[in-house]
Symmetry: C2
Subunit: 207 residues, 2 copies
Amino acid sequence: MKRASNPESQSFVVDHALRQTSRKRPDMRKMPIRKAFTLLEPGPVVLVTTRDGGKNNVMTISWTMVTDFTPRFAMTTGPWNHSYAALRKTRECVLSIPTVDLLDQVVGAGTCSGSDTDKFEKLGLTPVKAEKVRPPLIRECLANIECKVIDIIPKHNILILKAVAVHVDRSRREKRTLHAVGDGTFVADGRRLNRRKRMRSKIPDGV
Amino acid sequence: MKRASNPESQSFVVDHALRQTSRKRPDMRKMPIRKAFTLLEPGPVVLVTTRDGGKNNVMTISWTMVTDFTPRFAMTTGPWNHSYAALRKTRECVLSIPTVDLLDQVVGAGTCSGSDTDKFEKLGLTPVKAEKVRPPLIRECLANIECKVIDIIPKHNILILKAVAVHVDRSRREKRTLHAVGDGTFVADGRRLNRRKRMRSKIPDGV
C-alpha cells in the first residue's frame, strides 16, 4: 500500500487501514451520564450513527449544542440529510466523537450519502453494538453517546436528544477533537487551560 | 502593579490592564453576513452582550449552535441568567468572540452577575456602539456578531438569533478561540487542517 503524495487525494481508506493495524485495541468504559455534556460542550465535530431497516448509516455534524446538564442536546438537521428519515422514524442515534487522526473519515462521512453508500465499509469504521439503542457505536472514536430523540422542532430543524448511555475509550493516547470552521478547514484542540477553582460555583456536582 | 503568583487568584483585571496598554488599536472591519457562521461553527465560548434600561451587561455562554447559513443561531439560556430578561424584552444581543488572552474575562463574566455588578467595568472590557442593535460590541474581542432574537422556544430554553451585522478585528495577531469543557477547563485552538478541496461540495458560495 502506498501513501498518496497529495494530502488532498482520496486516500483516506488506505491511510485508515494503516493506522488501524498499529493502534491498540479500544478499551471502551462507561462514563457517568452526568459528565456526558463535557464531551459536546467544547463544540467538536461529531459522527452521528443511525440504524433503519437493518442498515447502519453515519453522517458528520457540527451543529450540536448542550441544552441541559441532565444531559440533553440539540442538533440541527433536516430532510437534506439522508439520516434525517431514520432519526424521525426510529428516534435513536449515537453521537460519536472522532479525534484528529479520524479527520479523513469525518470529511468522508460528510461528503457522500448513505442513500447509495455503506459509509462504515467505505470509511473503514467499525460498528459496535450499543447498550440501549439500535444504532451502533463507532469503535474507532474517542467517545460514543447513545441518544434518544425526545422532541423535534420542525420550524427550526432542531432535534432534542437525551443521552441514555456514554462510553469512552480509555486506551487512547490521541484525545484531541476536531472543530469544523465550515469553510473546509478544521481546527484541532490545542492547549488545555485550567480554571476549575474560579469556576467552581458553575460546575455541576460530580463533574 | 504586581502580578499575582497564584494563577488561580482574582488578578484578571490587573492582567487585563497590563495587556491592553501593549495591544495595538483594534481595526474592526465588516465581515459579509454569509461568512458569520464560520465564527460560531467551531464551537467557541462566546460573550453575549445585552442592553436594557440604558445599562450594558455581558454573560459567558458555551451553549450555541449554528442552525442555518443565512445565518441563524440557536442559544440556550433561561431565567437562571440575569441577561435572559433583557434578551426577552429587547430581542437584541451581540455575540462577541473572545480569544485565549481573554480567558480571565470569560471566566469573570461567567462567575458574577449583572444584577449587582457592572461587568464591563469590573473586567476591563470596552463597550463600542453597534451598527444595528443597541447592545454594545466588545472592543477587545476578535469578532462581534450583532443579532436579533427572532424566536424563543420556552420548552427547551432555546432562543433563535439572526445575525444582522458582523465585525472582525483585522489587526489581531492572537486569533485562537476558547472551547469550554464545562468542568472548569478550557481548550485553546490548536493546529488548523485544510480539507477545502474535498469539502468543496459542502461549502456555501462565497465562504
